[in-house]
């Protein structure tokens, strides 16, 4: 790679710690390369079967038939299922402890069940995979987190049941902790954990059971089975601090969260960005497992399911995940009834049908494992994300404040916009350290905490860029110096949005336009030290830039991200989306945190993995249409080739095009002149 490129390789991959602790057997297989139609290179024989630094797996639920009883816990022969996973080169399998069958009477443990669990873990190990053993999940069918003698007491808060839970954990952990094929422990899943009503109860439960594991297994990773963002939405409990006390965390988009944040089909608009967004919302500095991805309901065609899974898998590896788990292996065999309704616990739909036949989604999983195996994450590091979307603290405010409801949507829209502008981006929560970033976007916040304004002022003084869009109401007095404007008042809602460019090139190539967009507020400001870059049709400043110290502060007078997110994202006016993209892109370029390439197709997310002599780029098409992504790089590209091998295609220039199908993904190796 050319030495003068603006890439700080030293800080790359800060949160992509591997989910597979062992260097997975780098066995040789070129079968998938042959079947994919790509020419098999001479060194294919030395290639790994799967990525040793990126675990991929599936949850193997105890029951696959609605007619089964909880007592049928893993009573079926799972050999065929495990063989199928082995063939797909999966590295992780999640198994579920059934409390009801393990402790049928108080203090009496069923040795046969314990033995069966050990056998399962061993079978997984023998096939070169590793297990995540999950305690106290709620799959709705197998009574995994309840006992008949519990007398309807709540296992989350009842002190006696809590003691029994710790004892059952002790039994399992002491029996299994010596197993080489055991990778990690997991406490609860979101269905179970969302039954907690207070953060204190959750912390007490998690703390006590974590201790119970640690008594017998001091080293193996433990995770809590809920996504911090979706969990807050479903339970109102902020578990960020608790999640940080575990060795890994999970991110997943529940159907309820999907309906809240990005409604509509899985395969287009903002939906396909939801999982990467949630990955970025997870506690920083810990490995994050993109969990429960894949088919969610029977609402979608097999093709759509496969497309959604493909985008999710590649988005995971491109957005800092350490591994990925599909929701379920086999479809639950249900009673023959129409129609299918949403499964509230989201455990009915798998990547195989109920006969064990592979669906297109399973083929996608296998293809992903084979292809991503070739991406050596030790040799190629993703560009460091120096831009972040600030999730305001008001997000955690309860009703009647609507800020808690608006903020995640606005932040998701900001995240998507950054992606559309090809800006490597993270999500940072208000109050967290900002020094590692060059650009902070604050999308449509009503109010920031007192200390945040001084933090932002210091950040800009030190050379950072703040891109702030007004959220409505009173603008904090502390912001006047930062943005160089005097706030006069809120002009109130508007039904149309006009842009008249006053200063070209200060914030990229902007264009004049008039469009229909419901704006909930409009900040009326008079510039003091700021330069007005654009106004509305009547001359009110719309975009201003203020140079402060070594950095700059960009002020947008309207809650643009919220307006787009709250409007119909399927019909957001093109000029508005283009304005947003240009704002984010130009701010990132000016702040020195843009990617060293451009892509002319906003719907295509491009991630660059930087190597010593060459690079790998992964292009993900988030649109449901076929596109030709026009790429241009800072340095002349000598050739491109599929990372799985195949002939090198000479480029000899800075521009080339990559055709992508609907939801298509392409992983290419770039060599430079």
């Amino acid at each position: 790679m050319p030495s003068d490129r603006e890439i700080d390789g030293g800080e790359g991959q800060t949160d992509a710690s591997p989910m597979t602790p062992e260097a997975v057997n780098a066995e040789t297989s070129d079968e998938e390369l042959r079947t994919s139609g790509a020419a098999v290179p001479a060194d294919a024989a030395r290639r790994p079967r799967r990525n040793p630094l990126f675990g991929t797996g599936v949850s193997l639920y105890p029951l696959d038939d609605e007619a089964d009883e909880p007592e049928d816990w893993y009573s079926r022969d799972v050999t065929a299922d495990l063989d199928t996973l082995t063939e797909a080169k999966c590295s992780l399998v999640r198994l579920f402890v059934g409390w009801r069958v393990l402790e049928p009477q108080v203090g009496q443990y069923d040795a046969e069940i314990l033995g069966r669990l050990s056998e399962l873990v061993k079978s997984v190990d023998e096939r070169g995979m590793q297990s995540i053993v999950c305690f106290f999940a709620d799959d709705r069918h197998a009574d995994l987190a309840s006992v008949p003698w519990g007398a309807r007491r709540d296992p989350r808060i009842d002190p006696y049941l809590l003691q029994r839970e710790a004892a059952v954990i002790a039994q399992v952990v002491s029996a299994l902790h010596g197993s080489a094929g055991l990778f990690a422990w997991q406490l609860g899943d979101e269905a179970f954990l969302s039954g907690f009503t207070t953060a204190e109860d959750l912390a007490a439960w998690a703390g006590q059971l974590r201790e119970a594991i640690r008594e017998h297994d001091p080293a193996r990773p433990i995770g809590l089975g809920a996504d911090v963002e979706t969990f807050f939405r479903s339970s109102g409990i902020d578990m960020r601090a608790l999640a940080e006390s575990f060795e890994f965390s999970v991110a997943h988009a529940t159907s309820a969260y999907r309906a809240y944040a990005s409604q509509g089909p899985l395969t287009s608009v903002n939906s396909s960005y939801l999982e990467p967004f949630l990955l970025r919302c997870a506690p920083a500095g810990k490995p994050v497992l993109l969990d429960e991805t894949g088919p969610l309901s029977l609402e979608y065609s097999a093709g759509e399911e496969a497309q959604a899974l493909r985008v999710a898998l590649w988005s995971a590896i491109c957005n800092g995940a350490s591994g990925v788990m599909a929701r379920r292996l086999r479809d639950m065999r249900t009673e023959r009834r129409e129609p299918y309704f949403l499964d509230p616990f989201e455990t009915l739909v798998g990547v195989l049908d109920d006969e064990g036949e592979a669906k297109p989604a399973f083929d996608e999983l296998a293809t992903f494992i084979a292809t991503s195996a070739v991406l050596d994450l030790r040799a190629y590091t993703p560009l460091p994300e120096r831009a972040a979307v600030l999730m305001p603290a008001e997000r955690y405010e309860p009703l009647p404040s609507l800020a808690g409801l608006y903020a995640p949507r606005a932040c998701l829209q900001a995240f998507v916009t950054a992606k559309r502008a090809q800006v490597p981006v993270k999500v940072v929560h208000e109050g967290e350290e900002l020094r590692e970033y060059r650009l902070i976007a604050v999308p449509s916040a009503f109010r920031l905490e007192d200390g945040t304004w001084s933090q932002l002022a210091e950040f800009v003084q030190a050379g950072g860029t703040v891109l702030y869009s007004y959220g409505g109401g009173e603008l904090a007095k502390e912001s006047a110096g930062l943005f160089g404007v005097e706030f006069v008042g809120d002009g109130g809602p508007r039904r149309s949005f006009e842009c008249r460019v006053a200063q070209q090139r200060l914030l990229g190539d902007l264009e004049n336009f008039d469009s229909l967009l419901e704006l909930p507020a409009y900040a009326l400001v008079t510039p003091s030290t700021a330069t007005v870059v654009a106004t509305d049709a009547t001359g009110n400043p719309l975009l201003t830039v203020n140079q402060v110290g070594q950095g700059r502060a960009v002020f947008v007078s309207v809650p643009l991200e919220r307006a787009v997110a709250q409007g119909d994202p399927w019909a957001a006016p093109h000029p508005v989306l283009a304005l947003l993209r240009e704002l984010y892109g130009s701010s990132a370029r000016a702040a020195g945190c843009a990617a060293p390439f451009e892509c002319d197709t906003p719907e295509v997310e491009v991630t660059l993995f930087s190597g010593d002599t060459d690079d790998v780029i992964v292009l993900i098409n988030h649109s449901p249409e076929r596109v030709l992504a026009g790429m241009s790089t800072n340095h002349p590209v000598a050739s491109i080739s599929d990372i799985r091998g195949g002939a090198e295609v000479p480029v000899g220039g800075k521009a080339f095009g990559v055709p992508l199908g609907a939801g298509g993904v392409s992983a290419l190796r770039l060599t430079y002149e």
Binding site: E299, P339, L516
Partner: protein, 391 residues
Amino acid sequence: MSAASAQLFLAEGLARQNRVAEAVEACYEVLRLDDSEPLAHALLADLLLAGDFYEEAIGAAALAIELDVDCTPAYLALGLAYDRRGGMWDRSVLVWHELAEVAPELVTAHVQLGEALAASAFEEEAIAAWRKALELDPRQARAMYDLAVAALKREGMATALPGFRKAGELDPSQDDFFFGLAGVGSGGDEMPRAEDVEPDRFSRLAAAYSLARADDLFGAADMIRLLLSDKPDDAEALALAGFLYLKQEASNEAMAVALRALAIDPKTPTAVYVLGSSFTRRRGLGKSASRVFGALAKAVPDQPMSHVLHAEALLGVQRYADAKVSYLRAVQLDPTLVRARFGLAAVLLTEGEHALAAHEITRAAYYDTRREGLFMCLYEDYARGREQSAE
């Protein structure tokens, strides 16, 4: 008036002004004073629904119904929240069924019930619900669109197309489009009287448009006759005459006067509209209709209805991919255009994109119900009913 009632009055006023955040706060204030007030819960549900916060809306509406099982506005909010949330069709069917029982004359309840049933794959029951809606209101465009979509799913576009056309004719927005092309505003309530109209072209034409807009077709025709007696080559008057013929199902006459108008002035958009519309009503002229509406879409590209009409003509000649582009353009220009959403859903169904089509229908339903302002009507009726029973 109690403090809670006064606060509720304030919340209602704020909601009517679309000041959502303040209205939500006012609702919470009501509930702090009296948490057993179903109207406050129902209003809160509607406000949360307006922000697409479905889970919260479901919670608030369910509480309102728990407090009073006859709280019709809460049923509406609950049903809409279930529908828009998606994947909860079983509950949605129950709610709409309940509302249709509580308010049997409420057309929207039957339309929504049909849509929930269709989403649950109960096609026969869905069709029965839409037919019931059309019995109650024969001008229910959305029920007609739904029936057309059902026909499309079962028998294909050839059977569905007349349904889409019929729905389009029921849709008042097409007439608005014509008057928009003519540069005529919505006008006032006062109808012009023939004897009061000044005998000049401008006054007569304005009066003719006003009368046509008010569905006084004969009055408008008389006015046009006077105009054309003075100046037979008035393209605009001829185009309006064509529109009046169209309204009376006289396609041939409409076609003739539109052609005459265009021969006089080929840049008369109202005449282009009349010509295209008359072509669509005649068998075998689908290709001509698509060309004429294509020209209209080019002439007024910022008018979403021009793209819808072009798309519908393209559907008629089975150019689905082109129709999709036009529908998408229309939706881009006006996301609330129910007709474009339904048309787009139809095209998506022909492409096998069922999930995307279902989404378009959901969005169409969302905008249609919002446009009707039904919640506030039910809210007022319910509040009035409570007051009367209290007296």
